[in-house]
Symmetry: C2
Subunit: 676 residues, 2 copies
């Protein structure tokens, strides 16, 4: 029989071979994804430092309790700032370091939810008092908005901040159990200060609605909770997600804070209790827009993690039919598998690029806002709302696609994708519930649609409503399709714009009798039309960003994004006649969507051999992925074997459960069997 | 300002009112779902005993480590069999008790994976030696098939069982790391025996392919692992799912078992090593079909759990716009929410009923198999393959829909749905990978399709290929649709059958150039046509099973199942012209799917006030659901508050992380701030 085939050694052979067959230069594409080789090298250096530091070791993390994971998170945080001192890291460096961790640290909430709101909305006096402490983490902050019984609708928050002119203070109060602030990241056990969203109540009882107040929560001497405040952690999350973060609750019993502590850059109260109206009601939206604009990039890198693990595993996993080499085929070679996985690469590439553009957009918006300019606010709001829904829904789904593509082993915690999934999952419900956001996108689309017919023809359309130009000219008709259409990005983009336009039109005609799902369809269509146009621009700019071979491959990746977007919109495309059904007697009817599906299958098949290179280019190290199935060298079985040795249940040969529980079951059973 | 509104008290008022407004008699529907009042009462008594027993308390389960959860699982198991003795429970009773637990006990694998295979395939001699011990749990078994590097394709398993005629023994051997048995439920720390799937090798080295052998794994004296075997637990699962189950690994180093231990009812080896061929190659498929046929019922009850929790929460959660009562509206009243949740009830009701029919089908099959009759095997195989994919995919998705419908709080572990999700998730990949099963359904459909034209016209179609009758007669055409079509189940069923028929036809025409997703579409369509026909039968039988009012409401629930199935098949229906697009110049094109969508919205709106009654009828107690958001009395905020008090992080005011980690960060920060 000869030397038996050794699948474990074969793993490494398969992986090395896949790398040698990749056409793209991985380093070039990696620099492109990381905005240049200097930025990449910086990241590589930081990851190297972190991964070699024993504090950041992940080898037994999966066995820890949530409490241990919270404490671990604080140890990582402290070490991060030690390392910052040691290596003289800039703020950009430390943020880069934070972005390389997959532990969801509470300090992230200080940086993302507390500090930006403080910086955008603190009065100059409050700013000068606290800005240094906030920036240097001399105090640790959190942002307290959601209450136990109130989320999306901030106008119904129960927490009050009543102005007391006699002492020039605000009294913060939680009148009921349900007004308890809840879900607040970093509040449970960490933060010393918080920005509290509370209804401003003026002398005489007039309720002015939600405003922000800086409140100290814990003593800076010994971290005890200040009198009159009840604080705690709200407990574990689904799938053990965000275990290191102390999402918390807080209840305030008539706590006083000085008048200075109102975040009153845009709206305030005079000493005697008169309200000073803000110049624009929505100036305070900046904080949430900042978080949402970052979510696109995060979604891209999240999909990238899942794609890297799943594609590495599919490269070395052999299963099913025998291939030309006499061994079972590598699973990546099955069309039914790579047609699921290669599109993940496409979405990761698109979201990473798109997120950068959006962050630049936010920076411009923030500059405007701080000068009181709100002209970009509405557009940015619609854009981030639609994108937040699109990218969060997509990334959650893609992670699960990645996990499921790995079959049984994908369900092992050692695969790592389940952990990423559990941590990413709340993106669907935080920072604006997706269904509520869809409604906001619909409203904006209808407003733009109505403007189309009321304003002069020279009226310019905003970037998110460019697709509406198609409805202006009654002579415009959608493109004719044939099997060559699918190699032209422009055709796909135009179809997606037509879809958005016709859905908005449909929505405008049926407003009085809605059908319960049209809002979601419109929001998705409008957002995908916007993204498609951006992808068109990305394709155009590839030639200047990459060498020819890499530009060609990444161009195909972007095209695949467009085609799979079309595939997922087929109901709309077919409904509105954008995708003509083949005429003919139904029993002989043939599938008009076939040419698109064949084009997708063809592209995935072409790109499958590039999948290893394209995912290597994300640049994840084994330490970052922390996945036995995503190891760089492909030796997945050895990696699984090594990890199970640490399982606590395996530390004794006979389980503690044997004497008290298992033995009695069998003893009873044998007695019963003897009686039979 | 008067007495402030108290949302916490309002919870109970809202829930009581919703119950009072439900039109159906909950007890009647509950008896219907539980196959009669006697069966329901038995279940109620058993749940009452379990929930009052302190061993089955769940109040701190969510904080336990996986090791603690494994030990807890064994304690529950032992207590279950103690209770069986105390209360003189029948086998049916103890199975009922097991089905009421949500801890995923290892003993379940003995019952579902080990015992049925043993009973179906043991020779009479082996059976008489072990049957009593197996039935009474005098030994605890597991079923060892999957290996570290081999899953779906059993023909490539590496483990060997070599017959040694000189001693009349088999030598079980794992030649490589990758041949290690892996994922085996109850193997890690519990089982004493296992049925091992291994390649039978005859003297001279001839490999006969996979066969089954009973192997003792652990000592019956002290539970130590027998010499020559390495056993352990494979570690935690994604999302901390199946934490109580010790999925394990085992490696065999030339272990000997007597010839008797081959499960040789259908195929064996003579004393001198000649192979005795089985009468039918697939006789041994019984075990997997048994597990798969049970999966339909399980999926139904799994969706029922999620639906109950989400609908109770949506009944008491108030958010957003103000309603007629001056309070924010209950979220269940939003069409965008109830259009997502009410269909979950429909799928739970259908799968529960359908699963029962399937289990009866399996019992008839098993009777046939044990007499060597394999005539029903192929049909049952196709049916369970397609259904397994359909129900597992659907239930996973529905649980997540339920969780997400609860907004932020749905992500709390205390909501309970995340736990159910993590435990249910592997259903997508175990017992046949879904994409592989789809391929088997496609092959069977194509075989039936070809038979259509080669055999005589009198050839009768099997239940899973009834839809093919539509292709026989070239004069048959699909139904014309108008807005009244959606009140007729027959129309929906016929459309789904046409869809299956045309997709199979499409598939037969494009075999040489497949498009990578058609297999999944065909499998889904064929299976949904089969289920739709069964739902038609269920609707017909409602009048005899329920009183008029309940029959009407449940009839609408079944109709909703059909309509939402149509909605999810719109791409196919539109592609094949089964759903005619409105003609007209595209910019003026209107959505032809609107009437179906409006019908679904209307049905959901009609059924939303029945949602509490229809989910109460599932009969879950608070102990069973273990969900703060799904409490029967609706006091969700008090339930959340009570649960957070047990959080380990809340047992000290100042966290242990303060001194070593948080304090240094802030101290450093204040020094830095002082320098600014």
């Amino acid at each position: 029989m000869g030397e038996p085939h050794n699948p474990s050694q074969q793993n490494a052979i398969d992986m090395a071979k896949a790398r040698s067959l990749t056409a793209v230069n991985v380093a070039h594409v990696r620099d492109f994804l990381h905005t240049g080789s200097a930025q990449w090298r910086r990241r590589e250096q930081i990851v190297d430092i972190l991964s070699k530091d024993p504090v950041f070791d992940k080898s037994t993390r999966v066995f820890a309790t949530r409490k241990e994971l919270y404490i671990r998170g604080q140890a990582l945080t402290n070490r991060l700032y030690e390392l910052q001192e040691i290596h003289n890291w800039s703020t950009q460096d430390i943020n880069l370091a934070l972005s390389c961790l997959d532990d969801g640290l509470p300090i992230g909430l200080h940086n993302v939810a507390f500090e930006p709101v403080f910086r955008l909305q603190a009065s100059p006096e409050l700013f000068s008092k606290y800005a240094g402490l906030v920036a240097s983490k001399g105090i640790i902050g959190c942002y307290l908005q959601t209450e136990l019984a109130h989320g999306t609708n901030v106008n119904r928050l129960e927490t009050t901040a009543t102005y007391m002119p006699e002492t020039r203070e605000f009294e913060i109060n939680s009148p009921t159990l349900t007004s308890t602030k809840w879900w607040i990241g970093a509040l449970g056990k960490t933060a010393t200060h918080g920005v509290v969203q509370a209804k401003l109540v003026l002398p005489g009882g007039k309720d002015i609605g939600p405003h922000l107040f800086l409140v100290q929560l814990r003593s800076l001497n010994d971290h005890t909770v200040l009198p009159g405040i009840i604080i705690g952690d709200i407990g574990p999350k689904a799938g053990n997600g965000f275990a290191s973060t102390d999402n918390g609750f807080a209840r305030f019993d008539h706590i006083r804070v000085p008048k200075l502590n109102m975040l009153s850059k845009f709206a305030g109260v005079t000493d005697d209790g008169q309200y000073v109206t803000p110049p624009h009601a929505k100036l305070s939206y900046g904080g949430m827009l900042y978080i949402r604009s970052g979510m696109v990039t995060t979604a891209g890198w999240t999909i990238a993690r899942g794609a890297t693990v799943a594609i590495r595993y599919a490269t070395v996993r052999r299963q099913g039919e025998l291939g030309a080499d006499g061994l079972e085929r590598q699973t990546i070679t099955y069309p039914s598998l790579h047609v699921r996985l290669v599109p993940l690469i496409a979405r990761a590439y698109v979201f990473i690029e798109l997120g950068r553009a959006l962050t630049r957009g936010f920076e411009s918006l923030a500059k405007g806002l701080s000068a009181g300019d709100t002209s970009q606010l509405a557009e940015m709001h619609v854009m981030t709302s639609g994108l937040k829904v699109l990218v969060s829904t997509t990334a959650i789904q893609d992670l699960e696609t990645a996990r499921r593509s790995m079959g049984g082993h994908g369900y092992s915690a050692f695969a790592g994708v389940g952990r990423t999934y559990a941590d990413y999952l709340p993106a669907a419900t935080y920072e604006g519930e997706n269904f509520v956001l869809d409604g906001q996108v619909l409203r904006a689309a209808l407003k733009a649609f109505r403007g189309l017919f009321t304003s002069t023809s020279g009226h310019s359309l905003s970037p998110t409503s460019q697709y509406l130009r198609l409805l202006r000219d009654k002579n415009l008709i959608p493109p004719e399709l044939d099997s060559t259409s699918w190699s032209h990005p422009a055709t796909a983009i135009l179809l997606l714009e037509w879809r958005a336009a016709l859905l908005v039109n449909e929505s405008a005609q049926t407003l009085s009798e809605p059908d319960a799902t049209l809002t979601q369809r419109v929001s998705r269509a409008v957002t995908e039309a916007f993204v498609a146009a951006r992808v068109g621009e990305m394709i155009d700019s590839l030639k200047s960003a990459l060498k020819q071979r890499e530009a060609e491959v990444v161009g195909k990746v972007y095209l695949l994004y467009l085609l799979t977007t079309l595939e997922s919109s087929l109901v709309d495309l077919l409904s509105f006649g954008l995708f003509r059904a083949t005429p003919g007697h139904p029993p002989r009817a043939r599938d008009p969507t076939r040419s698109l599906r064949v084009a997708i299958a063809g592209l995935c098949n072409e790109l499958a051999p590039e999948a290893i290179g394209l995912t290597d280019a994300f640049g994840f190290t084994d330490w970052e992925l922390d996945s036995a199935l995503g190891v760089y060298d492909g030796k997945v079985y050895e990696a699984l074997w090594a990890r199970v040795q640490n399982e606590p249940l395996n530390q004794t040969e006979v389980t503690e459960a044997y004497e008290p529980f298992i033995k009695p079951v069998m003893t009873r059973g044998r007695k019963l069997a003897a009686k039979l």
